[in-house]
């Protein structure tokens, strides 16, 4: 294990609330390379608190890369410079001694800033409330093995379902489009027999709400896939577009 500490300059976005302008504030910190990025921020906050200064507001919960709560833009990239991990899985050994690190919130019209590095991502919940479910009541269902599901279909569905709902795809997109997120949700159900009865209604309802909430359009740059901590494929977007078109045709 490493003993040498890294001396770093942090430029962290501080903003009191949505209504007040924010700016980068500089902090110096010395940190163990074994520390995680968020533990470094914990350290910084502990130091600020001990000086009676207000800590940097940021969010995290599981710190295992699965809950999707953490959401920082580090060195200009959502979840930082290491691919396929969430911010909480980023460790300081990926930075060099003396480096300056820029830390910002996810920026998108649909994700208003709450304070410092915390943004409001309830728009993602609203899209799912519009149809991201299969309509079954508790208890009124057949045996789990009543409908066999081909192994590869279940696998593809699981690939899409692995989305942690962090919103990095939105933050990465120059148009702040939520297509990767929504298509992952749509695909999970579209790939399963249980999802068929509501398949075409679902895609229309979810896309409609997505558009209403101020997310941008998809222009196929694939930045979303590149920054997704779970490696969700843009093939899901193609699948969603196909279903959406089919839904329109069927509606005629």
């Amino acid at each position: 294990m490493n003993v040498e500490k890294l001396n770093l300059t942090l430029k962290i976005w501080r903003q009191k609330s949505i209504n007040t302008p924010g700016s980068f504030v500089e902090y110096k910190i010395s940190v163990s390379p074994d520390s995680s990025f968020l533990e470094m921020l914990d350290d910084l906050n502990n130091d600020l608190e001990s000086k009676n200064l207000e800590p940097v507001a940021f969010e995290s919960d599981c710190r295992e890369g699965i809950c999707g709560t953490c959401d920082l833009v580090i060195q200009g990239q959502p979840h930082g410079p290491v691919p396929k991990i969430a911010t909480c899985q980023l460790h300081m050994r990926n930075f060099r001694d003396g480096e300056t690190i820029w830390v910002e919130p996810f920026r998108a019209k649909a994700f208003p800033i709450i304070k410092d590095l915390i943004v409001d991502r309830t728009a993602l919940d609203k899209i799912q409330q519009a149809g991201g479910f299969i309509s079954v009541n508790t208890g009124s269902v057949p045996d789990g093995n009543a409908i066999p599901i081909p192994k590869d279909h279940a696998g593809l569905s699981m690939d899409a379902a692995a989305c942690i709902g962090c919103g990095a795809c939105v933050a990465a997109c120059k148009n702040a489009s939520a297509m990767l997120f929504v298509s992952a949700k749509v695909s999970q159900f579209a790939l399963l027999p249980q999802g068929q009865p509501e398949r075409y209604q679902r895609v229309q309802a979810m896309v409609k709400v997505m558009d209403e909430l101020g997310f941008g359009s998809c222009s196929n740059t694939y930045a979303c896939e590149a920054e997704c901590p779970k490696g969700i494929s843009v093939k899901n977007i193609a699948r969603m577009n196909r279903d959406y078109l089919m839904a329109k045709v069927k509606a005629e």
Binding site: N52, D61, C67, R121, Q128, P148, M158
Partner: protein, 636 residues
């Protein structure tokens, strides 16, 4: 003295739940919309309860401190969920799942509850499949199973290593459907800070809005707490950063008995602590112990690198002490053995960790086989530690993981406060003194989907609770007490940070109320915790404002509760003069170092009643084993 009536239905164990369901009162469908129910917490238990109660027609208010209900810590469960489907034709049955769970819990769980859990387990799988949970399938398209500890059958259903995530997203989607239908309303970013009682009956909760600090009042006909466990009392645990005991602890202080607080589960294969600023511990799947060999140096204070220590100077202590089970010894035994080695000064390069070595397995099977089996885990290990486990042995150490104790509930999952129900890890009911792998997800969903919809309805139809307005003097008084506490915390302006004190509490708990406990240590720690609590209230520094996003204040409020709960855990550990499951008293062990139960004197649930800070009264619910005979738990 609280009267503990478990309300276990009459009749043979197989018929209890069926008979009880028939005997319960029903609410007229047209009247259901006249009832409001609050569900606090949106993990597996909370989300499944909210969705199911909403479907029945009740108005459900869900309160969560997360920004989205989908982020509750159930999401981090990896392994799987048990059910007695017997799809593998390997001899499983509801009765066997019941038996394994009672035995796994070291005979400290209530038989009737465990039987019901096993009975509804199959419905859970069906429900989740119908919701679109992409469980693993075999080539014929049918559901696949894996094996887990404490069972000789293959009954664990899974979705890769993300079963908790998929089950939670299933429950969340069911809840979303009810939100769309207007039956469930989610109040996110609210932390419940107290329960409101009128004439001793739960009538609602008071929360702090985490966005603006406003104290908000919510009234209802019944309240469900599904707020998880309290392992973060140790500061370092596998729980999420925000998991806390505040909801159940404040309910406890209002009169809900707290049962078996000393039953905590320490998981043997977690990543070790890297330094003082560590924020949490990461679990590595126990499956690694199938091929990895656990060892430390035979020499005390050996600072050599592991690969420089020759074979004859290595102590494969699990294989030495437990030749039959070896590296696959049960969780509690493996955890304690690692602690003994470290306490003996033989930790890996002087650290609090032991080696988990794949050298021999790689030699025997080839690196590609090991990569196939554990590739993801090896990658995760390298991401976190920066070391390549194919070349250098992993370092692991046990960590607090789950708490079997919780608020006492009767068979209906109602606490000792009428109208206050408790579900999932927050209650004490099903796992006894030790929980088996893949049983936490099962219990959370059993409570939410299949128990509460019946028992809450029965309460509403039978007790006919009335709705109290949110300007009722009790609501006003509770809101004021919260304001007072907030102001007090903000006005201390001491010298120590919240985390600094929490870390100290964590060390006290880990050293003296952790894996191995003894009378002397427990007696000392009770005083030490009380002293630390006093220091907290004099010397903590909580910065920021009451009426703003204030994470420092949030953490301070939670720590205030841990400083009380920690003491109760020690008090409970001290009173229980036996070892069972996750509670190990060094004075009570067999010659082989196994937990030594005292069934004559301790076959009961210890339910503590809060009198005042640092003072509790013990109430006992005797446990009767009519179906499974009390026996020494042995996996040899």
């Amino acid at each position: 003295m609280i009267k503990l009536d478990a309300k276990i239905p009459e009749g043979p164990i197989k018929d209890k739940w069926t008979n009880h369901k028939f005997n319960m009162k029903l609410v007229n469908p047209a009247n259901k919309r006249k009832y409001d129910i609050i569900v606090v917490g949106s993990g597996l238990a909370g989300a499944s309860a909210a969705a199911s109660l909403g479907e029945l027609g009740y108005n459900v208010k869900v309160i969560t401190f997360h920004d989205s209900p989908r982020r509750a810590h159930s999401i981090a469960a990896q392994g799987g969920i048990n059910a007695a489907k017997n799809y593998q034709n390997d001899g499983d049955s509801v009765y066997r799942l019941f038996y394994d769970t009672v035995k796994g819990g070291d005979f400290r769980a209530r038989e009737a509850n465990v039987y019901r859990l096993a009975e509804v387990s199959n419905n859970i799988i069906d429900q989740c499949v119908a919701q679109g949970v992409p469980f693993a399938r075999d080539y014929g398209g049918l559901l696949d199973n894996r094996s887990f500890g404490g069972a000789l059958v293959s009954r664990t259903f899974y979705a890769r290593g993300q079963t908790g995530q998929q089950l939670l997203l299933g429950a969340y989607s069911a809840m979303n459907r009810q939100i769309a239908l207007g039956k469930v309303k989610v109040y996110a970013r609210r932390e419940m800070l107290d329960v409101v009682l009128v004439d001793g009956v739960a009538k609602g909760v008071v929360c702090r809005n985490l966005l603006n600090g406003e104290i908000e009042k919510y009234s209802a006909h019944a309240v469900v707490l599904a707020t998880g466990g309290y392992a973060n009392v140790f500061f370092l645990s596998t729980n999420a950063m925000n998991c806390n005991t505040t909801a159940i602890w404040r309910a406890h202080k209002k009169g809900a008995a707290f049962a078996n607080p000393c039953y905590t589960q320490i998981h043997p294969t977690c990543l070790p602590v890297h330094g003082e600023n560590q924020s949490k511990l990461t679990l590595m799947s126990e499956s690694l112990r199938n091929d990895g060999r656990i060892w430390v140096s035979k020499i005390k204070g050996d600072m050599r690198k592991p690969n420089d220590i020759p074979e004859e100077e290595r102590d494969y202590y699990l294989e030495r002490k437990y030749p039959t089970y070896g590296n696959l010894s049960p969780r509690d035994i493996s955890s304690r053995a690692a602690k003994e080695a470290v306490d003996d000064g033989r930790g890996a390069q002087g650290r609090d960790s032991v080696y988990l070595d794949f050298r021999d397995a790689i030699k025997r099977l080839g690196q590609n086989v090991i990569e196939e089996r554990y590739g993801n885990l090896f990658e995760m290990y390298e991401t976190i530690t920066g070391e390549n486990p194919y070349k250098i042995p992993m370092q692991i150490y046990p960590a607090p993981h789950y708490t079997m104790g919780g608020l006492w509930v009767d068979y209906n999952l109602m606490s000792s406060i009428p109208g206050l129900f408790v579900a999932g890890e927050a209650n004490f009911s099903d796992h006894g003194a030790n929980r088996l792998g893949a049983s936490a997800l099962m219990q959370g969903l059993a409570d939410g989907y299949f128990v509460l919809p019946f028992t809450v309805s029965n309460y509403l139809a039978g007790d006919k609770p009335t709705l109290v307005k949110e300007d009722h003097p009790e609501f006003v008084a509770v809101a004021k007490s919260i304001d007072d506490m907030t102001n007090k915390l903000l006005s201390i302006k001491g010298k120590r940070t919240v985390d600094d004190i929490h870390k100290q509490l964590g060390r006290l708990m880990w050293n003296k109320v952790g894996m191995a406990r003894n009378e002397k240590g427990l007696k000392e720690v009770i005083g030490e915790i009380a002293q630390l609590r006093e220091e907290f209230w004099k010397n903590v520094n909580v910065v920021g404002d009451a009426k703003d996003v204030n994470q420092c204040l949030e953490r301070a409020g939670r720590l205030a509760d841990y400083l009380e709960l920690g003491e109760l855990m020690a008090v409970d550990s001290l009173h229980r003069n036996e070892s069972c499951g996750g509670h190990f008293r060094t004075e009570y062990q067999t010659e082989e170092g196994e937990a030594l139960r005292d069934d004559e004197n301790f076959a009961y649930v210890g339910a503590w009643e809060y009198i005042e800070a640092g003072k509790w009264e013990l109430n006992k619910e005797p446990l009767e084993f009519e179906n499974i005979h009390l026996a020494t738990r042995s996996y040899k």
